[in-house]
Amino acid sequence: MASAFAAAPALAAGSNTITIGVFGDFTGSESFLGPDLTKGVATAVAAINASGGVDGKKLVYVTADDAGDPVDAIPALREMLSVDRPAFVVGPFSDIETAMVPIIKESTVPIIVQGGSTQLDKVTAKYFWRTNTSDDQEGSADAYWAIHQHWLRAAFAYTTAAGAATLMDPTRAAYEAHGGKVVVTENLVPDQSSYRSQILQIMAAHPQVVFFQQDPQTAGTFFSEVAQLGFDNKTQWLGTDVEYSSDVFKALGPKIATTNLQFTNNSLENSPASKYFASWYDKVNGTTTPALAAPQGYDAVVVAALAMEAAHSTSGPAFNAKMLYVANPPGIPVYSFAQGKALLAKGKKINYDGVSSTVDFNRYHSVVGPFGVYKFTASGNFVQVGQISSEQNAAFFTPGTVH
């Protein structure tokens, strides 16, 4: 029941704390996104506070639920901005982010969105930032991997969730432009009780690879039926960043999750930042396997915190101007808030490279890939099986892709 009941109230933030807003889906069909993002934010907050906080102040965060629908999301975001007065907001996701653009445009604090909708590729709003790659890039990466693995017959099994089509179209376009053939497309309504007839259709077309993006709950139902039909070991399954998540592993179970299943994500698995992130993530969340969007959320908070350090201010206009300063080259690469803070204190220009990407914003304040290709291990961790650099990916872009 989406309703007018959307926001969680503010924690008592005193004058020596800085409030961060986390805005995502806590209920509704994508209800895993909000908690997952929060895990990343909480990790960043813990790590930053342990390094002395920002300008001597500790960070705290509050959450608000957008309920996955724009009618409830708009008042909820307004409420968060007016009542909780966060220094910046992390979120929302692609199911409603396009509807939030008017509020983002009138905002006076940075809003670091987490969804890849291509409609936001060319948004020019001063306080708009995005630490999640555009779906154009991810689609291209998916296609690149499939073509280079010689999987030239493909099927699509995306859910119809809001925000899914913006990834399916670029994937298809890039794939077909480079010699791939799409033999069947099945659109899955999320959270249905059975997908068997659609699975049969896919299998009847004998694809070599199936591109898919499904929320964990749908994936659980879908893949257990795939296994019931005995088809999971007859084809390759290639998912997207939604699958880079412990929730998906939990839904599929170890056996299914490790059978011919791979997925892409704009993540630098072996980046210098990731060990630091993994140890803090473990301290805060009790596992080293990050949830979906947690790395991107973590990077968002770290970059904003560094910008606040550099500006010696938590006022929106002041530190918004420093976001590019701390995130983009040139500058000394830093891989954690602590490192960055120390160098800023010495007056050095830094370039934060994060867990989810090098966090280098393009002229539209969005980040660019590289992408890794991963699969699950039997214990639910990720292991990388391939890498697609930004240059390789760029060669695959469909015309008009912003990068």
């Binding site: 309703s3 007018a4 653009v101």
Partner: protein, 323 residues
């Protein structure tokens, strides 16, 4: 603060919506469990009629740049048109539970069609970028207040019309149908046509409210008209006052607005969804307890005996209709 200012139009919009529901249920006794679907049609149609040709990779029908009020009225008419289609199943002499089931089924079909046929209203992503009918040069707070003024004016019109209808001869017949359709038919009234009229009026009002809601949110999507949304409006009506438009307004303020906003200031505890879940439980409890302890809602229906100033004697028989 922009937020508080934005509550003003939201309250007016919910008021309009509950008044429409009152026309269907409170006055005429029609059980429409998919009221939100008509709200949605109003939101979509008004939205696309003000958005012009599809842009930003959206696809939808009926793009135009009509003036706001005209688009709003057309949105209401579109909702009434859907109501006409639905009413052929809903208004036959079916008992209430069948009616309720059919409305839910019809709503589900409409939801599925709008979601899957992306060419109609941009599918599951919904439409966004609906222009707001106030000058963009105002500050955000002033924009909300200005829009609030517009919605209140429209609410006043709707309220006035609803009151006139309810206490007109037509309204008397509708209430007679609500109380006992068989008897009313025996007296020679064409109950089907009367019910159809009331139903369509309610749908029209729902569409108007929906159009305003879409303007308020500047976006609309299928996730915004899940079946559960209807029940918030039901709770508002039951608590505020069945068959009384002022009660409907009161309910709209208490439930969707007051209830949600008061609980915002509770301290945060448990996981983020806990407070929201508890609110849901409270709504359910309200829906159970209101008919038990407040069978007429907080504001009773005004009956003929209350309105007659000249009657000096005590009422001859107790009003039993709203048990």
């Amino acid at each position: 603060m922009t937020y508080l200012a934005s509550l003003l139009p939201l309250a007016a919009i919910y008021g309009i919506l509950v008044i429409g529901l009152n026309m269907q249920y409170g006055v005429t006794g029609i059980l429409n469990f998919t009221y939100i679907t008509f709200v949605a049609i109003g939101a979509y149609v008004t939205g696309v009629l003000t958005m012009g040709a599809p842009a930003n990779a959206q696809t939808y029908i009926l793009g135009a740049h009509l003036p706001f009020l005209l688009a709003l009225v057309l949105g209401g008419l579109a909702a009434a048109a859907l109501g006409t289609v639905v009413s052929f199943t809903v208004l036959r002499r079916l008992r209430s539970d069948y009616l309720a089931i059919v409305t839910i089924g019809a709503g589900q079909i409409v939801y599925t069609i709008i979601g899957n046929e992306t060419g109609v209203f941009n599918g599951w992503n919904g439409i966004f970028g609906i222009p707001v009918p106030v000058p963009m040069s105002l500050s955000p707070v002033m924009q909300q207040l200005a829009f609030g003024l517009i919605t209140i004016l429209i609410l006043a019109v709707v309220l006035f019309a609803a009151q006139r209808i309810q206490y007109s001869p037509l309204g008397r017949v509708l209430r007679a149908i609500r109380d006992d359709e068989g008897v009313t038919e025996a007296y020679g009234r064409d109950t089907f046509r009367m019910k159809l009229l009331a139903f369509l009026i309610g749908c029209f009002v729902a569409g108007i409210g929906g159009g305003l809601l879409g303007e308020y949110a500047t976006a609309y999507a299928p996730s915004a008209f899940l079946p559960g949304e209807t029940f918030i409006l039901w709770a508002a009506l039951l608590i505020g006052g069945v068959a009384n438009n002022w009660g409907a307004l009161l309910g709209a303020i208490i439930v969707p607005i007051g209830f949600a906003e008061v609980t915002r200031f509770l301290p945060d505890f448990g996981n983020p969804t806990l407070i929201e879940s508890l609110r849901g439980v409270a709504i359910g409890l309200l829906i159970i307890l209101a008919p038990a302890f407040l069978p007429h809602g907080l504001v009773r229906e005004r009956l003929a005996k209350d309105r007659a100033r000249s009657r000096a004697t005590a009422p001859t028989e107790e009003e039993t209709s709203n048990a």
